[in-house]
């Protein structure tokens, strides 16, 4: 961990006792697995009085690049935005494009998209929960979580050939149909996973050390969650029951029956635990979708190679593992977008770090950052 002591100032209060304020620079090479984030923490002793995240270490200029690429050429770039969840990053972009170009998606493709997105949610949350474990020192929890993630990634590898950046969800549907026997294998994984997830819940969140390290840390109230634009598990941990799958339903989610886990206290424990609970719910969603899926085309017919949408703009959003991921596309009728903007939930959630870490120790700051679960491809674009 690159900790560097930059300055030392001496303050004193009325009684004449001296306080030392220490400015500590944490990152950007972070031992935790969240990526390239730099936090400038002002400490008094070990207590944080001010924490300021500095981002931009992975700013690759994706939005500018998109202005010189056709709509299909942008697809692989959307994979690299939220690289822990490429499926739903692709899906958000495809939804915005389909809204702009008036493309209708066949039903089987919608079901496949839901199945694949929920599997991706499980994989992404396993990374989030595991990273929470690593932050509190429970590296074993990370390895246990990765077992579930590897099973899901094996399914994806069979489906589209890639382990991490899939480029599978395409405008108008998905790129290829499910291979033979994939549905049975997926069902096997989804029936095996909840027991494993409950075991992980018991082992990690039931452990009094993890509870002691995460309960009461980084408490976010419900009003602040709404005012600061938090979404996803960060908002749901504070009791704000806002989930786009229920509040602004899209695709075939209205036909599927599931619950939204909502926390009570708004601390890091709730936020991380909600991710695990959501993974269990996702297993239920996938099973229902596997029952309901019917044979049919997986891609809309008649989509030209060069998509030229109408002139105008469109915004569409989905519920990703981090919150509401939205894509705003502006078109001028040519095959390249005029402007593409990604509304990334991790970027909006990360603002909360400067508010949540105040009053806690440095080790708790790492726990808070982990519970916000940022992915810097999405934060920095």
């Amino acid at each position: 961990m690159a900790i560097e002591i930059e300055s030392r100032t001496s303050l004193s209060d009325e009684s004449g006792r001296g306080f030392d304020e220490l400015v500590v620079n944490i990152g950007p090479s972070h031992p935790s697995t969240h990526g390239v984030c730099r936090v400038i923490a002002h400490l008094e002793g070990e207590v944080v009085v001010k924490a300021e995240p500095v981002i931009g270490y992975l700013h690759r200029g994706i939005e500018k690049m998109c202005e010189n690429r056709t709509y299909m050429q942008i697809m692989p770039l959307t994979d690299r935005l939220d690289y822990v969840g490429s499926m739903y990053a692709n899906w958000a972009y495809c939804r915005a494009l389909e809204r702009l170009a008036d493309i209708e998606v066949p039903e089987r493709a919608e079901y496949i998209r839901v199945i694949v997105c929920e599997l991706q949610r499980i994989a992404s949350h396993m990374m989030g929960v595991g990273a929470s474990g690593a932050d509190t020192g429970a590296a074993t929890a990370f390895i246990y979580a990765f077992e579930v993630r590897e099973r899901v990634i094996e399914l994806f590898e069979e489906l589209c050939g890639a382990r991490l950046t899939y480029n599978y969800v395409r405008p108008g549907g998905v790129s290829v149909d499910l291979p033979e026997g994939w549905i049975e294998r997926c069902r096997a994984v989804v029936q095996w996973a909840p027991d494993r997830l409950r075991e992980l819940d018991d082992l990690f969140f039931g452990n009094f050390i993890a509870a002691g390290r995460m309960k009461g840390i980084g408490v976010l109230s419900a009003e602040d969650a709404i005012a600061w634009g938090a979404s996803g598990p960060v908002a749901r941990g504070s009791g704000v029951s806002f989930d786009l799958r229920k509040d602004d339903p899209y695709s075939v989610y209205p036909r599927l029956d599931f619950d939204i886990p909502v926390g009570e206290n708004g601390d890091s424990f709730d936020r991380s635990r909600i991710r695990l609970m959501e993974s269990i719910e996702s297993c239920g969603i996938i099973e229902q979708a596997l029952e309901q899926i019917e044979p049919g085309p997986v891609k809309a017919s008649g989509i030209p190679r060069l998509i030229r949408p109408r002139s105008g703009d469109a915004y569409d959003h989905i519920e990703s593992a981090r919150g509401s991921l939205g894509v705003y596309l502006v078109s001028d009728g040519s095959p390249r977008p005029y402007r593409m903007k990604v509304r990334s939930p991790a970027f909006c959630n990360l603002q909360l770090l400067s508010k949540l870490a105040v009053g806690h120790t440095v080790s708790d700051l790492v726990v808070v950052l982990g519970s916000l679960d940022p992915v810097f491809g999405e934060v920095d674009r």
């Binding site: 010189n68 008036d102 634009g229 509040d247 915004y315 705003y328 903007k341 509304r343 970027f347 603002q351």
Partner: protein
């Protein structure tokens, strides 16, 4: 395809069409109406830049308490600012748009209404160069502090950029 505003129920209020939302806005702020036009076909409200803060405050009072995003589009002569607001109450999202001239890209901040706009406005300042008056801490966020220029503008020139050859 008007899925932006759909039929929802909230307690004793029944917002069943954009007419009713329009009436509510009209009733809430009659004095502002001569200054902006409403095109609710796509859920867009276009205002003059000087009225932006007032319109935003009105919308927040009305129920659009969730801030989605703010972004800017370089339209040549001016920058078009696009705000996306979400209402849990009406279960709709809507756009709030305004334009600022290119030679004087300054506009009021909305961070006093929605603190969520803090980093988003910093990003618009960083990449587009639009100044937000009243922002608590307006400085670069994604690019290094000593970067010159605003890359997302259409006339941004950088020698290190290698343009993609046109294959199509």
């Amino acid at each position: 395809m008007n899925e932006y505003i759909s039929a929802v129920h909230y307690a004793d209020e029944n917002v069943s069409s954009l007419e009713i939302l329009r009436e509510k806005l009209r009733a809430a702020s009659p004095g502002l109406y001569p200054f902006f036009s409403i095109e609710f076909a796509d859920g867009v409200l276009v205002v003059a830049p000087s009225n932006l803060h007032t319109a935003a405050a009105e919308l927040k009072e009305l129920g659009f308490q969730r801030f989605g995003m703010v972004t800017a589009v370089d339209r040549g002569d001016d920058f078009e600012l696009v705000y996306r607001l979400q209402s849990d109450r009406f279960r709709v999202g809507m756009f709030l748009k305004t334009k600022v001239p290119r030679d004087e890209p300054v506009i009021e901040t909305v961070t006093d209404l929605w603190p969520a706009a803090d980093w988003q406005e910093r990003e618009v300042y960083d990449l587009m160069g639009i100044e937000f008056r009243g922002h608590p801490d307006l400085r670069r966020i994604l690019l290094p502090d000593d970067w010159e220029g605003h890359p997302l503008r259409k006339d941004y020139h950088d020698d290190s950029v290698i343009p993609r050859p046109d294959y199509i």
